[in-house]
Protein backbone atom coordinates (compact mmCIF):
# COMPACT_ATOMS: atom_id res chain seq x y z
CA UNK A 1 0.00 0.00 0.00
CA UNK A 2 1.15 3.51 -0.77
CA UNK A 3 2.52 5.46 2.17
CA UNK A 4 3.38 9.06 2.87
CA UNK A 5 6.60 9.96 1.10
CA UNK A 6 8.95 12.59 2.41
CA UNK A 7 12.08 14.02 0.89
CA UNK A 8 14.86 14.49 1.54
CA UNK A 9 15.37 11.96 4.30
CA UNK A 10 18.43 13.75 5.61
CA UNK A 11 19.48 17.36 5.25
CA UNK A 12 22.45 19.25 6.62
CA UNK A 13 22.43 23.03 6.54
CA UNK A 14 24.41 25.89 7.99
CA UNK A 15 22.92 28.53 10.28
CA UNK A 16 20.96 31.21 8.42
CA UNK A 17 20.52 28.99 5.37
CA UNK A 18 17.19 27.92 3.89
CA UNK A 19 15.72 24.42 3.63
CA UNK A 20 12.71 22.95 1.87
CA UNK A 21 11.06 19.68 2.82
CA UNK A 22 8.58 17.90 0.58
CA UNK A 23 5.69 15.60 1.41
CA UNK A 24 3.57 13.43 -0.86
CA UNK A 25 0.44 12.22 0.96
CA UNK A 26 -1.31 8.92 0.48
CA UNK A 27 -3.53 9.07 -2.64
CA UNK A 28 -7.03 10.40 -1.88
CA UNK A 29 -5.90 11.86 1.44
CA UNK A 30 -6.87 15.52 1.37
CA UNK A 31 -5.37 16.61 4.68
CA UNK A 32 -1.66 17.07 5.35
CA UNK A 33 0.03 17.82 8.66
CA UNK A 34 3.57 18.88 9.51
CA UNK A 35 5.17 17.99 12.83
CA UNK A 36 8.55 18.71 14.39
CA UNK A 37 10.04 16.22 16.84
CA UNK A 38 13.15 16.84 18.89
CA UNK A 39 15.09 14.00 20.57
CA UNK A 40 13.03 12.36 23.30
CA UNK A 41 10.10 14.70 22.72
CA UNK A 42 6.57 14.15 21.50
CA UNK A 43 5.68 15.48 18.05
CA UNK A 44 4.96 19.22 17.98
CA UNK A 45 2.25 20.22 15.54
CA UNK A 46 3.35 22.93 13.11
CA UNK A 47 0.64 23.38 10.50
CA UNK A 48 -2.02 21.52 8.53
CA UNK A 49 -3.77 21.84 5.19
CA UNK A 50 -7.13 20.63 3.99
CA UNK A 51 -7.98 20.76 0.31
CA UNK A 52 -4.96 23.02 -0.35
CA UNK A 53 -6.00 25.59 2.22
CA UNK A 54 -4.34 26.08 5.59
CA UNK A 55 -6.68 24.50 8.11
CA UNK A 56 -4.85 24.89 11.39
CA UNK A 57 -1.68 26.42 12.74
CA UNK A 58 0.38 25.27 15.68
CA UNK A 59 3.78 26.26 16.95
CA UNK A 60 5.25 27.07 13.57
CA UNK A 61 7.90 29.84 13.72
CA UNK A 62 7.40 32.89 11.52
CA UNK A 63 10.59 31.89 9.68
CA UNK A 64 8.77 28.81 8.40
CA UNK A 65 6.08 28.67 5.77
CA UNK A 66 4.22 25.87 4.08
CA UNK A 67 1.75 25.26 1.33
CA UNK A 68 -0.19 22.47 -0.30
CA UNK A 69 -0.21 22.29 -4.08
CA UNK A 70 -2.87 21.29 -6.59
CA UNK A 71 -1.59 17.69 -6.61
CA UNK A 72 -1.94 17.68 -2.78
CA UNK A 73 1.77 17.46 -2.11
CA UNK A 74 3.04 19.88 0.48
CA UNK A 75 6.28 21.73 1.07
CA UNK A 76 7.66 23.17 4.29
CA UNK A 77 10.04 26.07 3.74
CA UNK A 78 12.39 27.01 6.55
CA UNK A 79 14.49 30.15 6.38
CA UNK A 80 17.15 31.74 8.59
CA UNK A 81 17.82 28.34 10.09
CA UNK A 82 18.90 28.18 13.71
CA UNK A 83 20.67 25.44 15.62
CA UNK A 84 17.43 24.75 17.49
CA UNK A 85 15.69 23.84 14.25
CA UNK A 86 17.64 20.58 14.16
CA UNK A 87 14.97 17.90 14.51
CA UNK A 88 12.99 15.24 12.74
CA UNK A 89 10.23 16.72 10.63
CA UNK A 90 7.29 14.47 9.97
CA UNK A 91 4.55 14.85 7.47
CA UNK A 92 1.30 13.00 7.97
CA UNK A 93 -1.84 12.67 5.92
CA UNK A 94 -5.42 11.65 6.65
CA UNK A 95 -8.62 11.00 4.73
CA UNK A 96 -10.26 13.99 6.37
CA UNK A 97 -9.40 16.64 8.95
CA UNK A 98 -11.97 15.36 11.43
CA UNK A 99 -10.09 12.27 12.46
CA UNK A 100 -7.15 11.40 14.62
CA UNK A 101 -6.15 8.64 12.22
CA UNK A 102 -2.96 10.04 10.78
CA UNK A 103 -0.51 8.22 8.56
CA UNK A 104 3.04 9.43 9.04
CA UNK A 105 5.97 9.48 6.66
CA UNK A 106 9.44 8.31 7.57
CA UNK A 107 10.48 11.84 8.42
CA UNK A 108 13.17 14.25 7.27
CA UNK A 109 16.09 14.70 9.62
CA UNK A 110 17.38 18.25 9.54
CA UNK A 111 20.74 19.06 11.06
CA UNK A 112 21.74 22.70 11.35
CA UNK A 113 25.44 23.32 11.94
Amino acid sequence: AAGVIQSPRHLIKEKRETATLKCYPIPRHDTVYWYQQGPGQDPQFLISFYEKMQSDKGSIPDRFSAQQFSDYHSELNMSSLELGDSALYFCASSLSPNTGELFFGEGSRLTVL
Binding site: V4, G40, P43, D56, F90, G100, F104
Partner: protein, 111 residues
Protein backbone atom coordinates in the same frame (compact mmCIF):
# COMPACT_ATOMS: atom_id res chain seq x y z
CA UNK B 1 0.20 20.50 33.67
CA UNK B 2 -0.06 18.87 30.26
CA UNK B 3 -3.47 17.77 29.06
CA UNK B 4 -2.17 14.24 28.52
CA UNK B 5 0.36 12.69 30.89
CA UNK B 6 2.43 9.57 30.40
CA UNK B 7 5.33 8.13 32.34
CA UNK B 8 8.27 8.40 29.90
CA UNK B 9 9.89 5.21 31.24
CA UNK B 10 11.81 3.37 30.05
CA UNK B 11 9.75 0.37 31.02
CA UNK B 12 11.82 -2.80 30.68
CA UNK B 13 10.14 -6.22 30.84
CA UNK B 14 11.11 -9.77 29.83
CA UNK B 15 9.80 -11.31 26.63
CA UNK B 16 6.41 -12.94 27.08
CA UNK B 17 5.30 -10.65 29.90
CA UNK B 18 2.05 -8.72 29.94
CA UNK B 19 2.74 -5.02 29.54
CA UNK B 20 0.56 -2.24 30.88
CA UNK B 21 1.05 1.25 29.46
CA UNK B 22 -0.94 4.07 30.99
CA UNK B 23 -2.04 7.57 30.24
CA UNK B 24 -4.08 10.15 32.15
CA UNK B 25 -5.87 13.15 30.74
CA UNK B 26 -7.51 16.23 32.14
CA UNK B 27 -10.06 17.27 29.50
CA UNK B 28 -13.31 15.40 29.98
CA UNK B 29 -14.43 16.57 26.52
CA UNK B 30 -12.07 14.16 24.75
CA UNK B 31 -14.28 11.76 22.86
CA UNK B 32 -11.89 9.13 21.63
CA UNK B 33 -8.36 8.04 22.21
CA UNK B 34 -5.59 6.95 19.88
CA UNK B 35 -2.52 4.88 20.62
CA UNK B 36 0.45 5.40 18.35
CA UNK B 37 3.63 3.32 18.31
CA UNK B 38 6.90 4.89 17.26
CA UNK B 39 10.07 2.96 16.56
CA UNK B 40 13.36 4.79 16.88
CA UNK B 41 13.92 7.29 14.04
CA UNK B 42 10.61 6.34 12.41
CA UNK B 43 7.28 8.09 12.13
CA UNK B 44 4.48 7.24 14.58
CA UNK B 45 2.03 4.61 13.37
CA UNK B 46 -1.52 4.23 14.59
CA UNK B 47 -1.86 1.10 16.68
CA UNK B 48 -5.50 1.31 17.71
CA UNK B 49 -8.14 3.66 18.99
CA UNK B 50 -11.25 3.50 21.08
CA UNK B 51 -14.28 5.72 21.37
CA UNK B 52 -15.84 4.77 24.64
CA UNK B 53 -15.24 3.49 28.07
CA UNK B 54 -14.47 -0.19 28.24
CA UNK B 55 -12.11 -2.47 26.39
CA UNK B 56 -11.19 -2.88 22.75
CA UNK B 57 -9.08 -5.81 21.68
CA UNK B 58 -6.94 -6.23 18.57
CA UNK B 59 -4.75 -9.30 18.55
CA UNK B 60 -2.28 -9.08 21.40
CA UNK B 61 -3.27 -5.50 22.14
CA UNK B 62 -6.13 -4.29 24.36
CA UNK B 63 -7.03 -0.64 24.85
CA UNK B 64 -9.01 0.31 27.91
CA UNK B 65 -10.63 3.64 28.71
CA UNK B 66 -12.05 4.70 32.06
CA UNK B 67 -13.66 8.07 31.47
CA UNK B 68 -14.77 8.44 35.07
CA UNK B 69 -11.16 8.51 36.22
CA UNK B 70 -9.75 9.91 32.95
CA UNK B 71 -7.41 6.97 32.67
CA UNK B 72 -6.34 5.13 29.51
CA UNK B 73 -4.43 1.88 29.34
CA UNK B 74 -2.85 -0.21 26.61
CA UNK B 75 -2.13 -3.84 27.42
CA UNK B 76 0.21 -6.00 25.39
CA UNK B 77 0.01 -9.77 25.87
CA UNK B 78 2.85 -12.14 25.09
CA UNK B 79 5.21 -9.23 24.55
CA UNK B 80 7.88 -9.61 21.88
CA UNK B 81 11.23 -7.85 21.37
CA UNK B 82 9.67 -6.31 18.24
CA UNK B 83 7.23 -4.48 20.55
CA UNK B 84 10.14 -2.40 21.84
CA UNK B 85 9.18 1.14 20.88
CA UNK B 86 7.73 4.33 22.29
CA UNK B 87 3.98 4.27 22.80
CA UNK B 88 2.13 7.57 22.66
CA UNK B 89 -1.45 8.19 23.62
CA UNK B 90 -3.04 11.02 21.69
CA UNK B 91 -6.68 11.99 22.02
CA UNK B 92 -7.89 14.37 19.30
CA UNK B 93 -8.87 17.81 20.53
CA UNK B 94 -12.62 18.24 20.87
CA UNK B 95 -12.41 21.62 19.09
CA UNK B 96 -10.21 21.05 16.04
CA UNK B 97 -9.32 17.33 16.11
CA UNK B 98 -5.59 18.07 16.40
CA UNK B 99 -3.90 15.29 18.30
CA UNK B 100 -2.95 16.12 21.88
CA UNK B 101 0.17 14.01 22.38
CA UNK B 102 1.38 12.47 25.57
CA UNK B 103 5.14 12.39 26.10
CA UNK B 104 5.18 8.69 25.22
CA UNK B 105 6.40 5.70 27.21
CA UNK B 106 9.53 3.95 26.00
CA UNK B 107 9.08 0.18 26.21
CA UNK B 108 11.94 -2.30 26.10
CA UNK B 109 11.23 -6.02 25.78
CA UNK B 110 14.24 -8.07 26.77
CA UNK B 111 14.72 -11.41 24.94
Amino acid sequence: QKEVEQDPGPLSVPEGAIVSLNCTYSNSAFQYFMWYRQYSRKGPELLMYTYSSGNKEDGRFTAQVDKSSKYISLFIRDSQPSDSATYLCAPPSDSNYQLIWGAGTKLIIKP
